[in-house]
Amino acid sequence: MKITVNGAEHELASPPLTSLLNALRDELNVTGPKVGCQGGNCGTCTVLVDGEPRRSCLLPLAMVDGAEVTTIEGLGTPKRMHPMQAAFHFYYGSQCGFCAPGMITASVALLERNPNPTRKQIQNALGGHICRCTGYVKIIDAVEAVARGESFDGAELTRSRGGEATPKGASA
C-alpha cells in the first residue's frame, strides 16, 4: 500500500486493517495526529484525506491506498504557519495542545467548503472535536478571525515574547 503524506510518498508495511493513525505515528513517525480515544469520538487524530477531514483512527489503511494525506505538520511550520495555525496561536485557541492538530485541520477543511461560516456553523463543524481546556470560545474566535480575513505573521508571534503582537487587519 502506498500513501502520500504531506507531499512525500510512502510504501507501507503495516497490515491493511491498521488504522491510518497508527500507521502515521508508528510506521512513519508522523506524530502530529494524536491518539485520544481510538473510537472516532474525540477528534484529535483528524487529518485531511484527499482534502476531506477524516478521523485517521477510523480509517483502515486498505481504504486509503493511494490517498493524499495532509496532517497538521503539512499545513505549516512555526516560522511559516498556515493562517489557521497562526490564528489559533494568536487567539489562544490551544492550551494543552492535544486537540489542536485535529481542531485546526478540521477548521481548515471547514473554510474550504464554507468560506464564511456562521458561529453556529463553526460550532457544528467542530462538534465532534473535544477540547477539555479552553471551553471552545477561543477556538471558535480563531476560526472566525481567519474567515473574516485577518492574517497573522506567524514568525512574529513566535519571536515577539515580551512585545505586543497584533493581527494584521484586526480592528482592536
Binding site: 506524530t31 491518539v35 497538521i72 512555526p78 497562526a86 496561536h89 515580551g162
Partner: protein, 462 residues
C-alpha cells in the same frame, strides 16, 4: 514590566498549533523501547487466591512480567512527606479493592504481545461483597473496604497514636445560633465523582541509564512529586531518578498521582530496556483517579431578614479504595464549608470514607468545589424560603476584610462583594442602593445589626 497588560504569545503555542510539540507518546528513542500492559483487577473487591504467570512468560516477545515482589518498595503513601502512613501497593499483593487495580505488568516487544501475555496470566479470585455507598460504610455489617476500617482513622499524626477519626471545625456558639434563628434551612448535596478525561491518556516512557539512574519521560502535572514517588518505589534516593517533563495533554488534577511512571520504571529496571506504557481510553476512564464523590448534609440557622447565624454540616468524602490525598481534600473541604460567606457560628464535621471505587484524587479546587456548591445552593434555598433576593442574601453575609474564617484565617482581600455585584450587573439585576454601595471594607454601620457584631467578634476553633 513590559509583559504586564501586554498580549503575549504562548510560550509553547507555536509548537502546539503546528503539531511539533512532543507529548510522551510522540517521543521516539533511537534504541526503541519495549511496550507495557497491565493485568488489572476485573473485580471491585476480591482476594487473590492463586497467581500463575508461567504460561504468559513463555509467550513470544515477552521480556518481563512484574508483580508486587519485583517492586523494591511496593507500598508507599502519596502523603508520606506529611507523615501520613502508606496504604496503597503499587501492584496488588493478595487482594484487590477496586476494579482496574493493577496486579501485574508485562513488558514485551509490542503492545499486542504484552496484551497477549496479560491475557495468559492465570489468576483466581475469591470475590467479596463490595462497598459502593458511603452512607452504608458506618453500618455494623457493611463490607470492609480498607484494612484501617471504612473511614480514615486519624487526621494528622502517625497511625500509632491515631488521633481523631474525623475532621472537625467549630467556631462560636452553634446552639445559640439555632435558638436565635427564625428558620432552619436544610439541604443535602451529593456531588458525584467526575473523571478528568484528559485528551491525552497517561503515558510514561522509562529509560534506564547505564549509570543506574532511571530517566522517566512523564506526563505528570507534578514533576517533583512524581520524582519522589518513582524514587520511593524504586528504593533509590532522589538523585537516582530523573523525570523529564514532557507536554501534558490535559491533566486537571488527574495527572498528579500517575502510577504509570512508576510501573514503567519497575519494568525498565527489570528488563534493562526502555519501556513505554500508554493507557487506553478505556483504562483512563475505568482505572484513573476521579474527583471524589461527596455526601453533604447542611442545616443553616437563619433570621427572617436573611442573616446566616450558624451552619452545621456533616460531610462524607469518598476516598475510594485507598487514601491518596483524601485526608488533605477532606480537611480543605471542612475549612471551607462556609463558602465565601462569614458565618459566626459553625460546626463542620467530615469523614474520609473508604469504598471499593477507584481512589479519588485532585481535580480543580481539590475538595473546595463541593463547598462552593453547597454554600451557593444554600444561599439560593434560604432566599427562596424567606422570599428574599438571593443577591442581597449573598452580599449581606459576604466575607469582608478582617472577617475570621472558620479555620482562623483573617481575610485580607475577600472578593465576595465585588464579585457578587459584578454578577448582578452582568445579569441585569438592579440591586438596592445599600447593596450597590457596599464594599469589602470591614463591616460597620447600618447594614449590620449590633447583636451580630458581638457574635462576629467571638471566633474560636476546635
Amino acid at each position: 514590566m513590559k509583559a504586564i497588560g501586554a498580549r503575549l504569545p504562548r510560550y509553547e503555542g507555536a509548537g502546539h498549533v503546528t503539531g511539533q510539540t512532543l507529548f510522551v507518546d510522540d517521543i521516539r528513542l533511537p534504541q526503541g523501547n519495549l511496550w507495557a500492559k497491565a493485568l488489572r483487577s476485573p473485580h471491585h473487591s476480591a482476594r487473590i487466591t492463586s497467581f500463575d504467570a508461567s504460561k504468559a512468560a513463555s509467550l513470544p516477545g515477552v521480556h518481563a512480567i512484574i508483580t508486587h515482589a519485583d517492586v523494591p518498595r511496593n507500598v508507599f503513601g502519596h502523603l508520606a512527606f506529611l507523615g501520613v502512613p502508606a496504604d496503597e501497593p503499587l501492584l496488588a499483593v493478595d487482594e484487590v479493592r477496586y476494579l482496574g487495580q493493577p496486579i501485574a505488568a508485562v513488558a514485551a516487544d509490542s503492545e499486542e504481545a504484552a496484551q497477549a501475555a496479560v491475557d495468559a496470566i492465570e489468576v483466581e479470585y475469591e470475590e467479596r461483597e463490595p462497598l459502593f455507598d458511603m452512607r452504608k460504610a458506618f453500618d455494623p455489617d457493611a463490607p470492609k473496604a480498607h484494612h484501617w476500617g471504612n473511614w480514615l482513622p486519624y487526621f494528622g499524626g502517625e497511625l500509632e497514636n491515631a488521633g481523631p477519626d474525623r475532621r472537625r471545625i467549630r467556631k462560636g456558639d452553634l446552639e445559640w445560633a439555632f435558638e436565635k434563628a427564625d428558620t432552619i434551612v436544610k439541604g443535602v448535596y451529593r456531588p458525584a465523582a467526575i473523571e478528568h478525561a484528559p485528551l491525552e491518556t497517561q503515558v510514561a516512557l522509562a529509560v534506564p541509564e547505564p549509570s543506574g539512574r532511571m530517566v522517566v519521560y512523564s506526563c505528570t502535572q507534578a514533576m517533583h512529586f512524581s520524582a519522589g514517588h518513582v524514587a520511593a518505589h524504586l528504593g533509590v534516593p532522589l538523585n537516582g531518578v530523573k523525570l523529564v517533563s514532557s507536554a501534558v495533554g490535559g491533566g486537571f488534577g488527574g495527572k498528579v498521582d500517575s502510577s504509570s511512571d512508576t510501573i514503567a520504571a519497575v519494568l525498565a529496571l527489570k528488563t534493562e530496556r526502555p519501556v513505554k506504557w500508554r493507557w487506553t481510553r478505556e483504562e483512563e476512564f475505568l482505572c484513573s483517579g476521579t474527583r471524589a464523590a461527596w455526601h453533604i448534609e447542611v442545616a443553616d440557622a437563619v433570621t427572617k431578614d436573611g442573616w446566616i447565624l450558624g451552619r452545621k454540616t456533616l460531610t462524607l468524602h469518598d476516598a475510594g479504595a485507598y487514601l491518596r490525598h483524601s485526608s488533605y481534600a477532606t480537611t480543605k473541604h471542612t475549612f471551607h464549608c462556609a463558602g465565601a460567606y462569614t458565618i459566626p457560628n459553625v460546626s463542620f464535621l467530615a469523614f474520609a470514607v473508604f469504598t471499593n471505587r477507584v481512589p479519588s484524587t485532585a481535580m480543580r479546587g481539590f475538595g473546595v468545589t463541593s463547598t462552593s456548591f453547597l454554600a451557593e445552593m444554600q444561599v439560593n434555598r434560604i432566599a427562596k424560603v424567606l422570599d428574599l433576593d438571593p443577591y442581597e442574601v449573598r452580599l449581606k453575609n459576604a466575607n469582608r476584610i478582617g472577617d475570621t474564617m472558620p479555620n482562623t484565617v483573617v481575610l485580607k482581600d475577600p472578593s465576595t462583594v465585588p464579585v457578587v455585584q459584578a454578577i448582578a450587573e452582568h445579569a441585569g439585576i438592579e440591586l438596592a442602593p445599600e447593596y450597590k454601595a457596599m464594599t469589602w471594607e470591614p463591616r460597620t454601620g447600618a447594614v449590620l445589626p449590633e447583636w451580630l457584631v458581638e457574635q462576629q467578634a467571638k471566633g474560636g476553633q476546635d
